[in-house]
Symmetry: C2
Subunit: 212 residues, 2 copies
């Protein structure tokens, strides 16, 4: 288009690529860029102008889509938990509810590794003072409920030790959360073997051998 053809040969930016695929792609592109900046540089990078420069759009697009910085933070939080919930929901049922719980632990870790830029936002407090709104909290709870239901299924099958299933669910979450936090921060060089030990220990600590 430009007379010297410079614009035609320039690589299209992330925004131009997303535009070709529509609003949902633009939204995902903006959220992924924002979560990447947040994870790499901390909360001061979560400025609409900064993100606009990063993906190559105008700040107007960001204001129209998210309303402002706190709307963007809320959207990030929801997106993180939406992906997390999808990953857990994809774990198939199993005749032995302990097998399903074990698979949920692995899916939890897979999600954390695949969506590491969202993980700190979901379970840490990376944006000082930000409190998620109702929709974000409901999304988070609906993801967590999958873990809680899986522990309740173990209890219903008579496989749980003498403990409150809700406390066991939180303990399970805390253990896997601790593992992936340390792994994401580069503290676990032998991560696969450790996860194996951890899951086996939890499994034999919280759950009984089924009665034949």
């Amino acid at each position: 288009m430009a007379e010297d053809g410079a614009e035609d040969t320039a690589a299209p930016n992330a925004f131009a690529l997303a535009q070709r695929q529509g609003d949902e792609a633009i939204r995902t592109t903006l959220l992924d860029a924002a979560s990447r900046l947040l994870a790499a540089e901390g909360p001061q990078a979560l400025a609409l102008r900064r993100i606009a420069v990063e993906v190559g759009c105008s700040t107007t697009v960001l204001y129209r889509m998210f309303g402002g910085k706190s709307g963007l933070t809320e959207a990030l939080y929801i997106e993180g938990f939406r992906r997390f919930r999808e990953r857990l929901a994809a774990v198939p049922p199993d005749p032995d509810p302990r097998v399903r719980l074990h698979a949920l632990g692995l899916a939890y870790r897979d999600n954390a590794l695949a969506e590491r830029n969202y993980y700190g936002l979901m379970f840490g407090e990376p944006v000082p003072g930000f409190r998620p709104g109702e929709k974000a909290l409901l999304t988070a709870l609906s993801a967590y409920a999958i873990l809680e239901d899986a522990v309740a299924a173990c209890a219903a099958a008579g496989l749980l030790i003498d403990a409150d299933p809700r406390h066991v669910a939180v303990s399970f979450w805390a253990s896997v959360h601790g593992f992936v936090s340390l792994e994401l921060n580069g503290h676990l060089p032998d991560a696969d073997a450790i996860l194996d030990t951890l899951m086996n220990g939890i499994s034999s600590g919280f759950f009984a051998t089924p009665r034949k």
Copy 2:
């Protein structure tokens, strides 16, 4: 001193109070202020000028003591692990090494709650790009070694399940770390009961009943 007496009636700032007690108190005052700002506002608050204003000293004091921002970050890291190690080292021995390990888990949590401003720095990555130096890493390892030795003592007493003691030590750490991370971020309303469930589950999962 001032003719109108205004300076005499003004409350002394943190720096003036620390000066009366000497260099070690100044150092602690500066590190505590820096860790508080880091936890409350993120890494952009970790600017020497900002900390100087906060405690009421000149930036010269900070430059003299820490050399600059990366020296300050390193000092924060060392201070956090030094306090952590002290807390773990204060746990008394016990004829049953599992009892001692359990007490170390509680001490780990006590330290995290008492030193919450240091905790994220020690096990997260709150200052993007910062890598602790050799002295900081040695301090961290010497603290962690207390946990590892406690698990090794359980293994030596024939109390460990069939697993690599080092992997069990990391699993123990990951579980307690996950618990305190979630507690510090306000995710665990019923924290005491959950810690109890978690520690009992780990204990019966990783350790056998002693042979009589």
